[in-house]
Amino acid sequence: MSHSVKRGMLGLALVIPSFLILFVVVILPILYAVQESLIDQNSGEFGLGNYIRMFTEPAMRTNIIYTLNVTLVSTVIALLVSYALAVYLRFGKGWMARWINRLYFIPMFVPGVIATYGLITLYSNHGWMARLLLLIGIDTFPKIIYSYSGLLLANLWFNIPFATMLLSSALAAVPNSVVESARDAGASSLQLFFRFILPLSYKTMWVALTFIFMGIIGSFTAPFLIGANSPQVLGVAMQQVFSNYQETHTASAMAVFMFLLCSVMGYFYIRTMGQDLDKQS
């Protein structure tokens, strides 16, 4: 009995440091933010005033809808492109596939600010792209930077390489014989993808989806530099409310709301993983 008690103590001792770190670094700030958010910015009273204003003030409501829109659209496009790229890299044999395979993750090593300025130089109205098009006689260039599409572009730039890397490793784990036996059984390319590749890499797709979603919804640098002045994504709006207007409580309410959005995503993610475990056990 004393042996098992000892072991229990040891286990506890091993867990306590990481739990303490988790508590101090994650749980406490969340609790603090929740508490701050419940103090009305205007009246100083305890209540849901900040949240009510957040969802009723037209500007903030527009920001929330805009953020969700940008995030969902970017996530879906990034995921589709990454999937297509990963499939191409998994099954492509040519020199193109080889070179893409060597180069596609480079954006991950470019710091965000630099990449954002790069995008601005490339795609702004007098940027390289516009000048290139001008050379071949096209003098109308769509407005990309400082708008929704610029933000979309930045989100794709930042998220596709990582998602591709995740999905590539998932696809690499799909044995050749599974693919070959599926084709042998008569599966067309589409059937191959939807009945085999997708189900076998679906778990990783969720991981990628979760990471892309959380990365985009909380992003600041790119939307700050490349996005429109209004509506703003929540990250930029929150920074403005916090440091320019110094409305700590309003900013906390926004932070808690973003945290809840991510939690929903995390819930689905964990549930999917759990289901998978059930199936395997």
Partner: protein, 370 residues
């Protein structure tokens, strides 16, 4: 407070911290100068100090440079704390800061009165500016927001604010100012647009009721919105609009004189870019030097202050910082006067405390979100 933040964003203001500077017994006195802000402030002092030490061999200056955002505010806090705990001396002999630092410290009496008998060159400084600072802070350099335009596309720049607004209406998409919350040049455009409708002294009022009188100004800004770059894109940061001007996407922007001149000098802006001040002028702000009351080496510090206010030192400052001199323009060398003629006509100071926050907030919802 608004003035500092503007000046900080322009990258030419300084704040400071505190540390020990020991008096040596070898006949030389070592004084500590606390400064901060952008790197160009550090470079400025690294040029000024050797010149000063050459002329005053018995004084050594220790430069304590705290880059912006690394605890500049706490230096004043430390001085305040030293005062409250009854310490007899501090290790800060000179401090580069803002009018706001002066105000904060003044109530506790941490700043020494500056006296033209000890610092003869104080007479070079505009006496009104000194009075505004309770004779406790010397505005030793300044910068202002001006109009920067590409002369290859704009032959006759607007002379007045109204001409500027007309020019904007006549040239849709060719003007840009930055999001006022992200930089002083855009902020200055917004503030002047609002306060040009109000009496001149309104700019120095922090009375919340002033906000009732902003409607005309905001209506003007809203009306100008569609004529802005890309029908209402306001880039982030002072540099955002400078980049647009450099790449030729717009022809005219409000910009900090020091930033624009420095970038012209480094050829980051095309040489066709020219600067002009309009009437009534945009806002700007000085950077101040202050001397703690508890400094034990006031005499040496006063010598340095006196040196900084000489036309020679001011020439270095103007050339290095592309800013305004702290002393009267007519004391400056003629060629420098000519070189800076376009921007030297002056600036107004916007000093209305927390109202700036409200302006930005209202701008975000009414102008950006229109």
């Amino acid at each position: 407070m608004i003035v500092i933040s503007i000046a900080l964003l322009a990258g030419c203001s300084g704040k400071s911290g505190s540390e020990a500077a020991s008096a040596s017994s070898t006949g030389t006195t070592e004084i500590s100068l606390y400064t901060g802000g952008s790197l160009n402030v550090k470079e400025l002092w690294e040029t000024l100090i050797p010149e000063f030490e050459k002329a005053n061999p018995t004084i050594k200056v220790k430069l304590v440079y705290l880059p912006s955002g690394t605890g500049g505010q706490s230096a004043v806090d430390r001085l305040l704390a030293a005062k409250q705990s009854g310490q007899q001396s501090v290790d800060v002999d000179l401090y580069e800061g803002s009018l706001d630092d002066m105000t904060r410290g003044n109530s506790q009496g941490i700043w020494a009165k500056l006296d033209s008998s000890a610092i003869p060159n104080l007479s070079n400084v505009d006496s009104n500016a000194l009075k505004q600072a309770n004779d406790m802070a010397v505005p030793y350099r300044a910068s202002s927001v001006v109009l920067a335009y590409d002369s290859s596309r704009v032959s006759t720049p607007p002379k007045t604010a109204d001409e500027l607004y007309d020019w904007i209406r006549q040239h849709p998409g060719r003007f840009a100012y930055n999001d006022p919350a992200t930089g002083g040049s855009g902020s200055s455009f917004v503030n002047t647009a609002i306060y040009n409708f109000l009496p001149a002294d309104a700019m120095n009022s922090s009375d919340p009721s002033m906000a009732q009188k902003w409607d005309k100004g905001f209506n003007l800004l809203k009306e100008l919105g569609p004529y802005m770059y890309q029908k209402g894109v306001y880039p982030k940061k002072n540099q955002g609009t400078l980049d647009l001007l450099a790449s030729g996407e717009v022809d005219m922007i409000p910009a900090w004189s020091d930033m624009a001149l420095e970038q012209l000098n480094k050829q980051l802006l095309p040489s066709t870019v020219k600067l002009a001040q309009i009437d009534p002028p945009f806002t700007g702000g000085p950077s101040y030097l202050l001397m703690p009351e508890m400094s034990t080496k006031k005499e040496a510090a006063e010598k340095l202050l006196n040196y900084v206010l000489t036309p020679e030192a001011q020439t270095i400052i103007v050339n290095k910082m592309y800013g305004y001199p702290g002393i009267k323009w007519d004391l400056m060398p003629k060629e420098l006067q000519n070189q800076f003629a376009s921007v030297s006509s002056g600036y107004r100071q916007f000093n209305s405390g927390d109202l700036q926050k409200e302006i930005n907030q209202r701008w975000q919802s009414e102008v950006a979100g229109q």
